[in-house]
Each structure stands twice: as structure tokens, then as C-alpha cells.
Amino acid sequence: MKHMKWLFLGLLLVTLMTWGAATPVQAQGPAIEWELVNPAGSFKIVPMELAPRPSSLEGKTVGLRWNSKPGGDFYLDRVAELLTQQVKNVKIIKLYEVAPETRSLNGAELAKKVASFKPDLVISSQGD
């Protein structure tokens, strides 16, 4: 009976310790009803319509735009080689050579400059 008492006390202690560990201590305040202004607000994007894809690149003009990060030019140079080898009469414009300013322009200014070369498709490299 004496042993049973110690067993009971031990189990009680373990239960209390386990309960304490399973319930994270948080400095929770009282529940309050808040009415907040959404601080993110709305956003404004002017949707653009993408040009239709050419169904084939044969006889088409492909502009290549490099973002001026090392390695991206090697990538596009190789794309140009493969396109020339594999696609009949494709015309390649390396914008980073004929219009070096396209390396650092962005947004509407870049789009305007690239469009002045009248490409059917533009391939751009992004990333470091």
C-alpha cells in the first residue's frame, strides 16, 4: 500500500510535468475586436496583350536580349548558334551587340528599343 502511494504520487508528478511541457507558455492577452485598415491596399497593373507566337521560326527574326550578367551572353550566343544550325532562314539579332544599351535598359524603354528592330520573337536571359 505504501508503494502504491509513491506510485500514485510519481504518476501525478509525471502527468503534471507532461501537461506543462505540452502547453506552450504564451503571453496571451485578452481577445479584442479590432477594426483595421488593410495596409497593403490595392494594386495597379495595366494588363498587356502578348504578341501571338509564331508557329515556326523558319524565316523569322529572333532578337536576343542579354541582361548583362556574366554567363548570360555565352548562353545566348549558343542559342544563336543552335537556332542558325537547326532552323531554316532564321535571322538572329544579338541586341547586346547591335544595341548595347539594351543590356541595362528595362521596362517600357527597353521594350521600345527592342521593338524598333521588329523581331518576331525575343528571347531574354535572366538570372546570375
Partner: protein, 433 residues
């Protein structure tokens, strides 16, 4: 179509959407393309080329509209929430309405009270599209973020002028907030308003326990991340980030400690009574610690040497900002050196040999390289560029900006200009009262 490395595809998609394209033809290639041999780059192209051809001719957009567009900018949506303050903070972080620091809840009442700090109407759009999310920022939302950052209503004109500086095209906010470069904002306030509002300029000005400075710093990064959506990884690719991305650096010019008695604002043509905000974006500063120099030239030589320690920003860079401790400024001015003398000396002596500059990539000039093609013509006319040619850290002497900030001590800080111009973008505060 866009070829993106795997680490940048989130940013690439996000950027395309923010420019108005609901979807775009992407081909994802394993990161990286830089700092690997050319042969490895070519292997990546050869592996991806069939997909490039397919994307070029057969790609179809997965969607043609952008969800969430068309909601009115004013009045801002109000949201009811029941829970403890801790629950509120968690909800706000989960919704990307905070950057993880505790905020003062932007209740309607608190926002209304904050709006009393300006005569501008709450529906005034003060930034029509904060990139990259293109969030529409009204005066009402400025007030909401002012509340969240613990600012007082009388700070509103400074907050609004800071926004005007952030949106200035010269600040290049989109690129500075999305880049891998550790760009963080710095705001310098000049004029009597600094004292009136308690914007610190002396000892520990840019550190803790400076509530007015801290509120502006928190406010700026809340706007960038909550309204602008500059959130890693798809809206912010900063490689490491640093505390300046969390709380922007803020100080006022210390006019009393300035031995030249001419503030940067006056140098820029403002009157001593004008209240002006200057905005800068750049990496963490470098520190010059000189307790010994007595002659201006001895100190200036060390300062010039420090300017050479700024990585890729030491090749004809667009400038930097020295925040001189008053004691350093006193030493520099002690033998009659003017600010212009100091600028000239630093410009002449801050240079490093060409071989110590970031290398060209495969012999080509790229955005992060020190490229002779871009050197000024008069510099190239001096002779061929060799490994030992000394390359100026800063392109022009006047691009080295000198200000006095801080209190007792012999430490000065150099903030290289990462993005944005020198002279700094400046906006008058009083227009926003």
C-alpha cells in the same frame, strides 16, 4: 520568352506580372550561369534547347487575367479581427502586412488621427504603383503605415516627402528593392524640422533609443515590403539581407558639429531654413576609425584607403557618402581645408589598380565588371589600361558627399552608393505639411 535560372524564376514571373503580362513563356535552367566555365553554360543550353524551341512556337498562357485587379485605392478596405494582440501580430505577418516586427495596430481611429498631421487629403495617390507589387499608395495608407511604425501625426510631412523621394525615377526603387545586392535605404533629414520632431543628429543618431529616426526607418521598409511586395524570394532577391533592410538608416545633419557651417542641403542650393529629405540606397557602410591623426592629410589618406574597400563599387562608381564624426570633420577642416578640398583629395587618392578590380567575364564587359569600354574618354586618353593602372573609386570629386552626423568619438562611416544617383535625390518636406 525568357530563359531564367532556377533561383530567379520566382522574381522573373513576379516581374512579368507586374509589367502587365499574366503569364509568359519561361524556360528554367539550373542556376547559375555566372562564375562557371563557358563549357558548362553551353551544356545547359544544349540540354534546354528542345524546350526553348517548343516554348518559342507552341507556348500558350496558363491564364489571361491578373487576379485581384480593379479594387479601389480609396477608401482602404477595413478588416475586422477578433483575438489578442499577439494573434493580431501573427495575422498581420501571415497576410504580409508587417515585416515581422511588432506594429501598432492601424485601427481606423489611429489612422484618422495620423492624417491630421498633413493637409493632404486621404484619397490623394502619392505613389501610383510601388514596385514590384505595384501597390497603390494613398495618403491614407501612408498614415496607416505611420501608425504601424509608431510615428506621430506631426511626422506625416517627413513620411510623405520620403515617399516622394522613393518614387523618384532616379532612385531606381524597383531594381534596388529586388536585386541580390544588399541595398537598404538611408534617409537624411536637413533643416529646422529635424529638431522640432526630435530626429536625432548627434551621439548614436542612427542607433536605438531614437524614436523619431526609428519610426521613419520602420515606415520605409513597411512601405517597400507591404505595399510594394518586396518579399523574398519572388519580390526581393537580396543575397544575405541586413538590418538596414529591416529598419532603414535615418539621421539628421549635425549642423552644430559641422566645422564648415554649410550643410549638404545648402551645398545643394537649399536655404538653411528649408526642410529637406535626402534619399540614398546602398549597402552596409564601412567604418574609418582614426584616433591619432592631427593633420587633415593624414586622416584623409586613411579615408581614401577605406573608399577602396568597397568591392565592385570602387571602379568609377557613382559616388559615396561620408558621414563624418564631428571630431573627424574638425580635423579635416583644421588647416583651412574646405569641403571641396576634401572631396578633391579623396577623389585623387581613392583608387585601386586595375588588376584588383572585379574581372571581366570571358573578356566581355558586363554589369558587375570594371569595364574599360565605360571609362571616361579623358581617362582613356592618358594611355593604355594595364594591370597597374590606378582606377578611381569614384568618377567625379563632387560625387563624394560629405555630411556631419554623430557625437563624440573618432569614427566616421562611408556609405557607397549602390543604386540611385549622386547628388542624392532631395525632396522638400514643407510641401507635404
Amino acid at each position: 520568352m525568357t530563359i531564367s535560372t532556377s533561383e530567379f524564376i520566382g522574381l522573373a514571373r513576379n516581374s512579368m506580372e507586374s509589367f502587365g503580362a499574366p503569364d509568359q513563356a519561361f524556360v528554367v535552367v539550373p542556376h547559375p550561369l555566372g562564375m562557371i566555365p563557358k563549357e558548362e553554360v553551353i551544356k545547359k543550353v544544349d540540354a534546354a534547347f528542345p524546350e526553348i524551341l517548343k516554348a518559342a512556337t507552341a507556348w500558350k498562357p496558363s491564364r489571361t487575367t491578373i487576379p485581384g485587379l480593379g479594387k479601389p485605392a480609396y477608401p482602404a478596405e477595413t478588416v475586422k479581427f477578433t483575438g489578442s494582440y499577439q494573434d493580431l501580430l501573427k495575422m498581420m505577418y501571415d497576410k504580409r502586412w508587417s515585416i515581422g516586427l511588432p506594429v501598432v495596430p492601424p485601427t481606423k481611429t489611429a489612422v484618422q488621427a495620423m492624417l491630421k498631421g498633413t493637409s493632404h487629403k486621404p484619397d490623394e495617390v502619392v505613389w501610383d504603383a510601388v514596385p514590384p507589387r505595384m501597390g497603390v499608395l494613398t495618403a491614407e495608407l501612408v498614415a496607416a503605415h505611420g501608425v504601424m511604425a509608431s510615428c506621430k501625426p506631426e511626422m506625416m510631412p517627413v513620411l510623405l516627402a520620403t515617399i516622394e523621394a522613393m518614387k523618384d525615377p532616379a532612385t531606381a526603387w524597383r531594381s534596388s528593392t529586388t536585386t541580390t545586392h544588399p541595398v537598404a535605404p538611408m534617409i537624411i533629414v536637413s533643416g529646422p524640422i529635424a529638431k522640432q520632431l526630435g530626429i536625432a543628429s548627434g551621439l548614436g543618431a542612427m542607433g536605438p533609443e531614437m524614436p523619431a529616426n526609428l519610426c521613419i526607418g520602420h515606415f520605409v521598409n513597411l512601405i517597400g515590403d507591404v505595399v510594394g511586395g518586396s518579399w523574398p524570394p519572388e519580390g526581393d532577391m537580396t543575397t544575405q539581407g541586413w538590418v538596414g533592410n529591416t529598419l532603414a538608416t535615418v539621421a539628421a545633419e549635425n549642423i552644430e558639429g559641422n566645422p564648415w557651417k554649410q550643410s549638404y542641403a545648402e551645398e545643394r542650393g537649399f536655404k538653411a531654413t528649408d526642410n529637406v529629405v535626402f534619399f540614398h540606397g546602398g549597402p552596409a557602410p564601412l567604418m574609418e576609425n582614426d584616433h591619432a591623426s592631427v593633420e587633415p592629410q593624414d586622416l584623409a589618406e586613411l579615408l581614401a584607403y577605406t573608399m577602396n574597400s568597397v568591392g565592385s563599387s570602387r571602379c568609377f562608381s557613382s559616388g559615396g557618402i561620408w558621414l563624418f564624426a564631428p571630431e573627424h570633420a574638425q580635423t579635416l577642416a583644421s588647416k583651412g581645408w574646405t569641403k571641396k578640398d576634401v572631396q578633391q583629395f579623396l577623389w585623387k587618392n581613392a583608387n585601386a589598380p586595375f588588376f584588383a578590380q572585379p574581372p571581366l567575364a570571358g573578356g566581355k564587359c558586363a554589369i558587375t565588371t570594371c569595364c574599360p569600354d565605360n571609362f571616361p574618354k579623358d581617362f582613356l586618353a592618358k594611355g593604355p589600361i594595364t594591370d597597374n593602372t590606378l582606377i578611381p573609386a569614384v568618377e567625379k570629386p563632387e560625387q563624394i558627399i560629405l555630411m556631419v552626423v554623430g557625437g563624440a568619438g573618432k569614427q566616421s562611416l562611408y556609405f557607397p552608393i549602390g543604386f540611385g544617383p549622386s547628388p542624392l535625390v532631395a525632396k522638400k518636406i514643407d510641401a507635404w505639411k
